[in-house]
Amino acid sequence: MRTSDNIVVAIASGKGGTGKTTIATNLAHVAAGMGRKVQYLDCDVEEPNGHIFLKPNIEKTQAVTVDVPEVDLKKCTGCGKCGEICRYSAIIHLKDNHVLTFEQLCHSCGGCLRVCPAEAIKPKPLDIGDIEFGKSGDIDFVHGRLRIGYVRTPSLIKEVKSHIKDDSLAIIDVPPGTSCPVVEAVKGTDFVLLVTEPTPFGLNDLKLAVGLVRDMNLPFAVAINRYGVGDKEVERYCEAQNIEICFKLPDDRRIAESYSTGDMIVDSLPEYEKGFTDLIEAMTV
């Protein structure tokens, strides 16, 4: 019998390439090994890569659409209200009843549909990507894949997160950065683990990420990957800011070698398993 949880943990970072996916996938793997019900959701939908390590069997694929406006020019009276309300220039009124739409710029607010006095605008589904569901051992695997050239990242992330189960430890792999996709991915989570590296670049972007989670009032702590390289500035910053450093993964060439072949660290290097076990317990008390 597996232990039920109802905790959502986000693995985020300001800087890209700090080890979010490495830590997220190993956490999921170790948690499943501890007998917990665990779900891994890759919200880095522009380039999901957790599947490389978890190697899930994909069982189901679901298309995700958003609504964009479709204008019936025969009904259009040329009032121009649709273009006036749109903040993204996704719909624009030219002379007479000529209305142009730019689907890629639309944020699906529905404003143009509502203000049109002639009911000439209808919602039309635009396919922005897919969500794939599968199993990696006992781990429930979910990831989103945004279509190339599409920019509706937060909409797809929101859809991926709608599949969070309420009886599992849900581990969310967050995209890098501190912009809208990250806000969407960490929103409503119970705990955010900010993964960084002990370098000036890591520190700079960690400060941005800390600003974001503090603005959002989310509980968080820091994990330092490749501990031993760089300098001590990340630790000094965390101490000064009263931020807990709850995990350190050393700079070990064998970890990089394991990663480069798509293996899980805890499988190739069992001595690191205890660190991940302790981290899960610390995050889920």
Binding site: G83, S89, A90, I92, L94, K95, H98, L100, F102
Partner: protein
Amino acid sequence: MKIAITSRGETLDSEVDPRFGRAEYFLIGELESMDFRAIENKNVNAAGGAGINSAKVVIDAGAEAVLTGNCGPNAERTLSAGGVRLYTGVKGTAAEAVELCKGGKLTEAGGPNVESHSGMNK
């Protein structure tokens, strides 16, 4: 024929602004009378949609042709829908551009000549 020239300044001796969507000014006037007025472009620092909104400005001003350096796909599509002819690759002063246009020396662009966002941060 009424034309619009993207310009760095308010007069015909100004340089042609190489950006369409984020041009500093549009000089709009009749080729025949050479009477041009400047419209300051409010889309210079727009977060997005600069090309589309700039195209709307010149369409609303009644221009039938645009003379500029570079024009991206969204602006080109809007201009085309508004029935505005597009001439890209135009350099030198606005006055020189007008002369080239009068002499029939400009070739109409068959489409956009740059990618979206090419005029950002320039």
